[in-house]
Amino acid sequence: MATQASRIAGRLMLSPVVVLLFLWMIVPLGMTIYFSFLRFNLLMPGTEEFTGFENYSYFFTDPAFWPALVNTLVLVLGVLVITVVGGVALAVLLDQPMWGQGIVRILVIAPFFVMPSVSALVWKNMLMNPVNGLFAALARGLGLEPIDFFADAPLASIIAIVAWQWLPFATLILFTAMQSLDREQMEAAEMDGAGPIWRFVHLTIPHLMRAATVVVLIQTIFLLSVFAEILVTTNGGPGTASTTLTFLVYMQSMLQFDVGLGSAGGIVAVILANIVAIFLMRMIGKNLEA
């Protein structure tokens, strides 16, 4: 891409894709913004009219709004912490020479291939069910009272399910980074008198920072829109205990057929996602620079 001509040619060839991607984003966003300013209820067709910020004020004053906001942040943060810490631990373990390495690595990746709704159902009916679940059976075996996970700790249960799904992704990225860690550096540190823990703190952790940043950024995008797991397990309840912003938008636009209110919620979610993204880039974005 050195000459003027090749630069122009490059731009020309890129432009259809750029235009397509831009439309792909801007049309739904524009329509959502437009709907969010309308009174638009599917149960009352033909009554659409401009209402200004009325939908927004309804959304903000909805008693479920603040709990949903808090739940969203707790969910995202909880899953991030579990997956990054767990991912680093698994990456270190997988990096050790051991028998059956190939199979173990595939097993670790496997949960990522399971559809969210399916894995949520498996967790709900086979593991966490207070009557038939494996955990309940274990608890009874130990002489303890089985826990009704989705009634007593709904958000924590959902965090566990989502973390289980995302742990393979984090592990995969961190493990790949782990393999690019220079052996000679480790040996130099060993000769310098650094034990395994110091080597982990001074060499492994700094080396993994970049990969961890990628994991955090990518996961945040997907975690802000976790939906199937909630729908299949708790349906946002009990009360609003496991309602996130995504789920709140769904309840309002789909269950109450209020497209205007749902759109306003969607725009709020978009703004929240951007705020989170800006925060993240400020905090950890510098790790991505070479």
Partner: protein, 332 residues
């Protein structure tokens, strides 16, 4: 204090024997160079001494104490790696201070030692940079700095200059030699470059396929190579090795004569035709096709007016001939 004694040291990787019984005594303060062709086990031997690999059998003792089973950190050896192995996330200062920090030295003392080392190695202006912001030679010096602050019993170098360009290699080579004169610490230096070996070593250990071929000072190896391998390996350009009738005249299976020990003489016994002719200014390297012998490399003065296709008579210097028997051993 750093006397290192290897006895019957062997190492095999998965059944393949790589180091096949090494006996070697390295006295305190000596600069020893391991040379040998690629894959002969130089790095492996160094790593065995460092404790980064376990020996398969044999013992290694450092300062009279058996160190065969000691972990690397306990052997008080410092190693400089070919890739430098600097810690990329730490500044130069932190890199050099790392071994001191691991040893639990107080901060002021760390500071003092780091600055002293930086001064010796001309690194003071770069102390707050990251390794990625340094040139190859500077990185190499940081790696050396990290080794010297520990005041180890011995330094181990694994081809430390092979990533540098020719000019820098020469100057770093001299710096390391000078460092040895100042510190007077035992140094073991691995290289496959025989010029480095000849110029730096007190003693050279020539390795081949996991065995020691010969140990001696550079000039000993040059003057009296113990076998064909050493004869061919030490010296540049390579020694001419002649077999057949010409060698038999001298009662040897193989006759060795160095290119610099052949003169051009009117009455020389070897008549030949000059092939390739390399004028370096200070020297001229000739490849001469000699009748009945084959190609002979000759090194003569810089102002020899010979060209491709010229006829010359060559005379080997009689007192500089090397004779080898059928087994490749030198004959006396």
């Amino acid at each position: 204090m750093g006397e290192i004694v290897l006895s019957e040291v062997r190492k095999s990787f998965g059944g393949v024997s790589i180091i096949q019984g090494i006996d070697l005594v390295i006295p305190d303060g000596e600069f020893v160079v391991f040379v040998g062709p690629s894959g002969c086990g130089k790095s492996t031997l160094l790593r065995l001494i460092a404790g980064l690999e376990d020996t398969s059998s044999g013992t290694i003792s450092i300062d009279g104490k058996d160190a065969t089973k000691l972990p690397p950190a306990k052997r008080s050896l410092a190693m400089v790696f070919q890739s430098y192995a600097l810690y990329p996330h730490m500044s130069v200062r932190k890199n050099i201070a790392f071994p001191l920090r691991m040893a639990g030295l107080p901060a002021e003392e760390q500071q003092r030692k780091v600055e002293a080392a930086a001064k010796v190695l001309n690194l003071t202006p770069y102390l707050d940079r990251k390794p990625s912001q340094l040139s190859g030679g500077q990185r190499q010096r940081v790696a050396i700095g990290r080794a010297i602050v520990r005041e180890p019993a011995a330094f181990l170098f694994d081809e430390p200059l092979s990533n540098l360009d020719a000019a820098l290699r020469v100057s770093m080579r001299q710096e390391i030699s000078e460092l040895h004169h100042t510190l007077k610490t035992t140094m073991i230096y691995v290289t496959h470059d025989q010029v480095e070996a000849m110029t730096m070593a007190d003693r050279i250990v020539v390795l081949n396929a996991g065995r020691i071929e010969q140990v001696g000072s550079p000039l000993e190896l040059y003057r009296s190579p113990a076998n064909l391998f050493v004869a061919g390996f030490i010296g540049s350009p390579k020694m001419n090795l002649i077999e057949g009738a010409e060698a038999a005249k001298y009662g040897a299976h193989t006759l060795g004569v160095r290119p610099e020990h052949i003169d051009i003489a009117e009455d020389g016994p070897w008549k030949g035709l000059v092939g390739l002719c390399e004028h370096l200014g200070s020297d001229t390297f000739l490849k001469v096709e000699v009748e009945g012998i084959g190609q002979i490399n000759v090194r003569v003065g810089g102002d020899v007016p010979l060209r491709h296709g010229a006829r010359v008579n060559l005379a080997p210097q009689a007192d500089k001939l090397h004779r080898f028997d059928a087994g490749g051993k030198a004959m006396v």
